[in-house]
Each structure stands twice: as structure tokens, then as C-alpha cells.
């Protein structure tokens, strides 16, 4: 019975708790956190159940108000959207568990408003994933973006300026997207994705459709932070509070990537955007630029969160590269990397947040092996996630790169293959730099008297902050081992005819 309503329930749970949290929060501030975690937990449970259900029973469609599309608005819950909603809801649950302590420290006295906005953010993300209507997607993009700006602006002193820049650039991205769907609407007379996919082959020779495709790719590319459009990302991620950056970094750009996959593969079709003209190649070339650029700049950073932000640009490049390859292996690589990178980045950002709270900074130059002694488990989680980012088997990160590499071989794009291999080395440089300091470098001599290795006691973070990072790290190992099973499911998500 409940299965039928899962598509609508996922955004609705978050929307309802976004309204309920301030209502109860007025009387008792402490109710905000349990509400947020309960909402996130039930959404995660529902999305896992829904994913299993959809794999067995096929795509579900939910018509709002009983209006049959293309007249009405529909939510489409197919294997791909079910899969992505599992990813983001599970990661969000982990981050919100971690939030108990970090939000109490970061957002003294504003927890109620903060959690309420987090719920709105997740409403937007879930809506973006499940909706089957182009204009609806725009509205959900704006819901998630607006709450994203607010969540970034409550961080450090510089954060409002970073959020303002993100707001200007992000709104332009959304406006471009709106302009693009305007072109499509006036050419085809429909906004429903499935309906449009049926009409487009008849009108695809028109240059208007081509312009619409370019404008939509640019608009969503800004949301996703593909290479030349990434300018807003490093500052926003660095200055945002821990919980915000660990929500927006792993999930936000992934949902943008999902929207791009949905529109390119399911509305325009892989044939149109890859063979009939070179949109796919352009995306792949820009993504390769992003992979190299992000990795090189990540090496140059001294601050861990900033380094992770630049590494995000590089990792988004992998997803973009998979999208741009437009062959089955590229698709698998992109979707698998969407999952793996969400887990890896969430884990790394949580570790950076733990270090900021316990050690007071996350400055790489100041790290030494006292970190290992003080926070053994946090650093263990970091190590697993870092190795996964570099791509060591059997960790999850290896397999998405493997499928991307297979994709480049399948299309005989040797330069892209070289980019993947080189970037793995660059990843190794910037992560091993930290690992080397944490596990090898002894503390600086002057402080040796008070801080010598015998005196350093274990000073691990509280369980609510440690467990999510560890669960995500263990998740990376499990995802790596289960990759054959996951890839089998991804085959079911492919658009028809691939």
C-alpha cells in the first residue's frame, strides 16, 4: 500500500519536518535535532525499501491531483532515481547524525532555524531526483539552491560573501536552465520529460533544440560545477560550517550531475547529444580539464577543507567524463562514481570537521603524528576514504575509475584514459601528503617536552561524530566488495537502446 506513495512521500517527509521543526522548536529548542534525524532516517529507510521494490516491480509513476501527464505533473520513480535517492538519503542520515555535536558548536542558539533549512535543502534534492517534469525540476533546483545559500552563509566570517557569489552564479545557472526549457517548450508544447523524449526525434533538426541543449548543459553545469564553471565552489565549501559543507559537497553537486544525466540520456537521448553533434565531446573535454585543474590546485592547498573542495572539482570531472563518453561503460562509471564519491567526500568532510572541533584547525602544514595518537579512529576513517579516492582496490573508488577507463577504451579515447591515470597519481600526491604527516612525521622539536609521544593521550571525538565517519568508511569497503552486484543493478538503470 505504502509503496504507491513513496515517490511523493520522500520530498513530503522533509517538507513536513521543515515546517514542524520551527513550530515545536519555539517551545523547546532541543526537539529540532530528533525531528531532523527521524525525518532523515525514515526517508532513508523508505528510499531503500522503494529501491528494492522498484527493482522488482518496475518504474512507478505518481500523478499529482489525478491529472494524467502530459497535462498533469508526474513524479517518476525509476531504478535510476530510486538509486540516487538511496545514495543521498543515506549520506544525509550519516551527516545529520554527525550534526548533533557539530551544529551545537557551530550554530549556538540557531539550531532550530538551521535544521529547518537543512530539511528544505533535502526536500529540494529529493524533488529534483524524483520529478518527471522539466519546470518542476527548476522549482526544486531553486528550493535546494536557496536553502544551500543560507546554509553556507552561517559559517565563518567570510562565508556570507562566498554565499553571495554562489547565489549570483547559481541563479544565473538556474535562469539559463529556465531559458533552455523555454526553448524546448515553445518548440514541442510539452514540459513532461517522457512526452518530450517522444516528440524530440521529430523536431531534432531544428537549431532551436540545439541551442536549448547547450543552454541547459551550461545551466546545469554551473549547478554541478563542471570545470570552467566551478568558480563558486572552493570558497563556499571552505567557509561553510562542517554540517553544511558535508551535506552540500557530497550531495549537491551529485544531484546536479543526476539532473544532467536525466536530461541528456533520457530526454535528448545518447544518440542525439553524442553522435549528431559534439556536445558529449565538449562535456568530456571540459571534465578532463577539471580533473587535472582540480587535482593540481588541490596539491597546492594548505587547508584541508579547501583541498577537499578542489578535489571535489576533480571528482565531478570524473562524473562529467562518464556522461560525456556516452557509452554503457561511461554511464556505469558516472553512476557508480556518483555513489562512491558521495560516500568518500562525506567521510572526508566529516573528518575535517572532527579535526576542526578537536584540534581547532584543519591546517595540513600543522599536522603530525600526534594526530594519529590522539584520534586513531578518525584518522583510520580518513585513511580508508583517502585510499578510496586514490583508487586502491578493493575500495569503492577503484571500481568507478575502472569502469570509466573501460569506457574510454571502448570509445578509443586514449587521451581521456591518460587523464584518468595521471589524475590518480595526482590524487595520490595530495592524500599521501597528509597520510605521511599523520603517520610518519614526529611532532616539532620545540614542543617535545610537553608533547612528547609518551604524553599524548587518546583524545577521540564523541561517538556521535565518530560513528558516521566510520560507517561511511566501512561503507566504502562494502561498496567495493559488492561492486559486481551494484553494477548489475546499474544495467537496469540505463536508458533504453544503450
Amino acid at each position: 500500500m505504502i509503496e504507491r506513495h513513496i515517490p511523493a512521500l520522500l520530498p513530503l517527509i522533509f517538507l513536513a519536518s521543515a515546517l514542524l521543526i520551527p513550530m515545536f522548536g519555539v517551545f523547546k529548542r532541543k526537539t529540532a535535532y530528533p525531528f531532523a534525524v527521524t525525518a532523515s532516517l525514515s526517508a532513508a529507510a523508505l528510499s531503500v525499501y522503494g529501491f528494492v521494490y522498484v527493482l522488482q516491480n518496475g518504474t512507478m509513476r505518481y500523478y499529482f491531483g489525478g491529472w494524467i501527464p502530459p497535462i498533469g505533473i508526474e513524479f517518476v520513480y525509476d531504478p535510476l532515481s530510486a538509486f540516487v535517492s538511496v545514495v543521498i538519503n543515506v549520506v544525509a542520515l550519516m551527516v545529520l547524525t554527525h550534526a548533533l555535536n557539530s551544529v551545537r558548536v557551530d550554530q549556538e542558539g540557531r539550531q532550530v532555524a538551521y535544521y529547518s533549512v537543512v530539511m528544505l535543502l533535502l526536500t529540494g534534492f529529493n524533488g529534483m531526483i524524483i520529478t518527471g517534469d522539466l519546470f518542476n525540476l527548476y522549482v526544486f533546483i531553486e528550493i535546494s539552491s536557496l536553502s544551500g545559500y543560507a546554509l553556507i552563509a552561517v559559517g565563518e566570517k567570510q562565508s556570507p560573501f562566498a554565499a553571495f557569489r554562489y547565489l549570483i552564479i547559481g541563479t544565473i545557472g538556474a535562469s539559463f536552465y529556465l531559458l533552455g526549457i523555454g526553448y524546448l517548450y515553445f518548440m514541442s508544447g510539452t514540459l513532461n520529460m517522457g512526452d518530450l523524449a517522444g516528440i524530440l526525434p521529430m523536431i531534432k533538426d531544428s537549431p532551436t533544440i540545439l541551442v536549448a541543449l547547450i543552454i541547459i548543459v551550461v545551466g546545469l553545469g554551473i549547478k554541478m560545477a563542471i570545470f570552467p564553471m566551478h568558480g563558486w565552489l572552493p570558497d563556499s565549501y571552505t567557509y561553510a560550517p562542517t554540517t553544511s559543507s558535508s551535506l552540500i559537497a557530497p550531495i549537491g553537486t551529485k544531484v546536479g550531475a543526476y539532473a544532467l544525466i536525466r536530461i541528456l540520456y533520457f530526454v535528448f537521448g545518447a544518440d542525439y547529444f553524442s553522435r549528431e553533434f559534439a556536445a558529449a565531446d565538449l562535456i568530456a573535454i571540459f571534465s578532463c580539464g577539471g580533473i587535472i585543474f582540480g587535482s593540481v590546485l588541490a596539491i597546492a592547498q594548505k587547508e584541508m577543507k579547501r583541498m577537499l573542495a578542489y578535489s571535489s572539482i576533480a571528482q565531478i570531472g570524473y562524473i562529467g567524463l562518464g556522461i560525456g563518453l556516452a557509452n554503457p561503460f561511461g554511464f556505469i562509471g558516472a553512476v557508480l562514481h556518483l555513489l562512491n564519491h558521495a560516500f568518500m567526500k562525506a567521510c572526508l568532510f566529516l573528518v575535517a570537521g572532527n579535526l576542526r572541533i578537536k584540534a581547532g584547525h584543519s591546517d595540513i602544514t600543522k599536522m603530525d603524528d600526534s594526530f594519529r595518537k590522539k584520534y586513531p579512529w578518525t584518522m583510520a576513517a580518513f585513511t580508508v576514504a583517502a585510499l578510496s579516492m586514490v583508487g586502491l582496490p578493493p575500495l569503492a573508488g577503484f571500481f568507478s575509475k575502472w569502469y570509466l577507463a573501460l569506457g574510454t577504451i571502448q570509445s578509443s579515447r586514449w587521451i581521456y584514459l591518460a587523464v584518468i591515470l595521471i589524475s590518480s597519481l595526482l590524487n595520490a600526491v595530495y592524500f599521501f601528503r597528509i597520510l605521511e604527516k599523520v603517520y610518519m612525521k614526529s611532532p616539532i622539536k620545540e614542543k617535545a617536552d610537553e608533547n612528547s609521544s609518551e604524553n599524548i593521550k587518546k583524545d577521540e571525538v564523541v561517538p556521535s561524530m565518530l560513528v558516521p565517519a566510520l560507517v561511511l568508511a566501512i561503507g566504502l569497503i562494502v561498496l567495493g566488495i559488492l561492486n559486481v552486484f551494484i553494477v548489475k543493478q546499474i544495467y537496469k538503470m540505463m536508458p533504453e537502446g544503450m
Binding site: 519546470f135 527548476y138 522549482v139 531553486e142 536557496l146 545559500y149 543560507a150 552563509a153 566570517k157 567570510q158 556570507p160 560573501f161 554565499a163 553571495f164 547565489l167 549570483i168 541563479t171 544565473i172 535562469s175 529556465l178 531559458l179 523555454g182 517548450y185 515553445f186 514540459l191
Partner: protein, 122 residues
């Protein structure tokens, strides 16, 4: 050639507005002016929808008499207008958030000039 220019004059106007908006966002140093540029850009997109859905000699899509047959040619398409109402609401919310951020920036740095702001942030 003249037909091409005169026949699409609404699109030329929208291109002009988009360019003005882009110019404001990229070249103006004051953050409020950047925001104004963004608003002009959004307004241009909204005008694009509205002007493209214009239809001559038509009326609002309301059935006046029950026995009247619904002739599509007599009515204007209401969907773009409904969409743009939503887009306007979104735009207003965006401007609201942007102003809140600007107030916060001004309280912390006492300036809204981009150059000076970047200097004071160091």
C-alpha cells in the same frame, strides 16, 4: 533582412536585457549593482516566456458559455503565464536571500565594494 530584425524585435530586446544583466554582474564592483544585474537577467527570461506566448485576437482561457464549443484558436495559452508566476515568486525569494546576505556582509566588513571587500577579508 529588415523582416528578420523587425519580425523578432521582442527577442532582440530580450538579448539586450540579458547582455545588460551579464554586464552588470561581471563588471560592476558594487554588490548591490551585481544583484540588480541578476534581477535584470531573470526578468529577461520571464519576458522571453511572456512575449513568446503572445497570440493575436485571443482572450483569456475561460469558457464563457456552457454550450460554446472550445475553439483553441480563440484562447491564449495560459501555461507560460502560470509558469512565470512561479518563476517570479522564486526570483523574489532569491532577491530576499541576497539582501539578507548583503546586510550580513555590510555588518561584518562595512563595505559592499568588491575590491575593498576582498582586501579586508585577507
Amino acid at each position: 533582412m529588415f523582416d528578420f530584425i523587425a519580425g523578432h524585435y521582442n527577442y532582440w530586446f530580450i538579448i539586450l536585457l540579458i547582455s545588460i544583466g551579464m554586464y552588470g554582474m561581471i563588471f560592476k564592483k558594487n554588490l548591490v549593482k551585481k544583484l540588480i544585474g541578476m534581477t535584470i537577467f531573470q526578468a529577461a527570461v520571464i519576458l522571453f516566456y511572456i512575449s513568446s506566448s503572445v497570440k493575436a485576437d485571443t482572450t483569456v482561457p475561460i469558457l464563457l458559455e456552457l454550450n460554446e464549443s472550445a475553439d483553441v484558436n480563440r484562447y491564449i495559452n495560459p501555461l507560460p503565464h502560470a509558469l512565470m508566476l512561479t518563476a517570479i515568486v522564486v526570483g523574489v525569494a532569491t532577491v530576499g536571500v541576497a539582501f539578507a546576505l548583503l546586510v550580513l556582509i555590510y555588518k561584518r566588513y562595512n563595505t559592499l565594494d568588491e575590491k575593498e571587500l576582498i582586501e579586508r577579508m585577507k
